[in-house]
Symmetry: C2
Subunit: 206 residues, 2 copies
Amino acid sequence: MEQTRIITISREFGSGGRSIGKALAQRLGIAYYDKELVKQVALETGFDPQFVEERGEFAGKTSWLTWIVDQGAGTPGVMNGLNATDFLWTIQREVILRLADKEPCVIVGRCADYILRERKDCLHAFIHADMAFRADRIVRLYGESENSPEKRLQDKDARRRINYKHFTHREWGMCQNYHITLDSGVVGIQRCVDILAWLYGQGREG
Amino acid sequence: MEQTRIITISREFGSGGRSIGKALAQRLGIAYYDKELVKQVALETGFDPQFVEERGEFAGKTSWLTWIVDQGAGTPGVMNGLNATDFLWTIQREVILRLADKEPCVIVGRCADYILRERKDCLHAFIHADMAFRADRIVRLYGESENSPEKRLQDKDARRRINYKHFTHREWGMCQNYHITLDSGVVGIQRCVDILAWLYGQGREG
C-alpha cells in the first residue's frame, strides 16, 4: 500500500473541477496549486501571468499578449531557442515536479497527471459533466452573458484537448490516463470531494 | 435527487470488473446479470450460449460455432433478414431493457451503458487497469498458461472496442460515456466495490 501525497485534477471547463480541488485541499489540510502555480511560473519565466494562464493549458492564440510574446520568442539566448509555448511548458513542468517533491498538494490542470505519471504517490482524477450542467454552471457562477455558453465550452474543451495531445501524445479524457474519473453533474460536486478525500486517506493499492 | 436502481459495469478484460459487479450486487442485495443474461438471450434467439457469450461483446470470428451460425444467418424469415450478429444485438438489447424495467440490478458488459443511456436511474461505471496488473491477474485467477497474457489482453480489448464502436458509434473507455471510471489496480478491487456501493446508496444528483 502506497501513501498518496498528491492529487492531480484535470477537468472539462465548467465541470467544477477547480471547486472540487479547492474543497478537497481544504478538507485534507494540504496545499492547493492552480493560480499559485501560474504566479510561480510567471515569476520564473518572466512572462505575464495572463500569458501563463492562457498558454499553460490552452492551444491557439487567445489574446494580443499571447501574440506579442510569441513574436519575441525566437530571440536567441533568451529561451534557449525554444518558442514561447515550449519554453513555458518546460518551466511549468519543472515547477510542477518541484511542488510535488516539496509537499502534499492538490494540483489542478496543466497536464500534471502526465508530468507526474511515474510517481507512485499520486492519485490522478478527471472531472467532467454534460453540456447542459456545465452551461448552466458557467452562466450562474461566472455570470457569462453570451448567447451560447455551449459554444464557449466546446471551444475551451477543444483547446485543452489539443494542448494536452501536443505535449503528452495522449488523448484527453481517455479513462486509462486517470485513476478515477467522475461525472460531477450526476455524482454531485460535494460527493466528488467526498470520494476523492476518502481515496486519498486510503492510499494506493498498486 | 434521483434514486439509482441499476449499475452497469463495462470493463477491460482482466481488470476485475466482473468480480466487482458480483460483490457489489451481493453487498446491495440486488440481482446480478452476466451469465444469466447470456442464458436468457440464448433462450430467446435459439443460439448456443457459447455463441451469445462470444458475439455479445466481441467483434470478429472466434470459433467454428460462430462461423457455422453466421453461415446460416441469411436464411429468410428466421431472423428478419438480419445477420446473426445484428440479430443477436437486437435481442440482447431487448433483454437488457426488460431486465432494467424488471428489478434493481448490476449488469456487466454488453454495451448496457449505451442501451440504458436515457434512463435516469442508472449509474454507469467503467473499470480498467494497467497491463501488468491484468496480466498477473488472469494468469493467477484463470490459470492462463500462455506465454503472452499481454497479447491475449490486447486482443480481447481490441475486439471489445470494435464491437462497442460498431453498435454505439462511441469510443470505448472515453470517460464522458460513464459516470465513474476506476483503475482497479491502483484503487483496489475491494475499494471499487466500496465506492460504487456508496454511490448507489446516495442516488444521482442529476
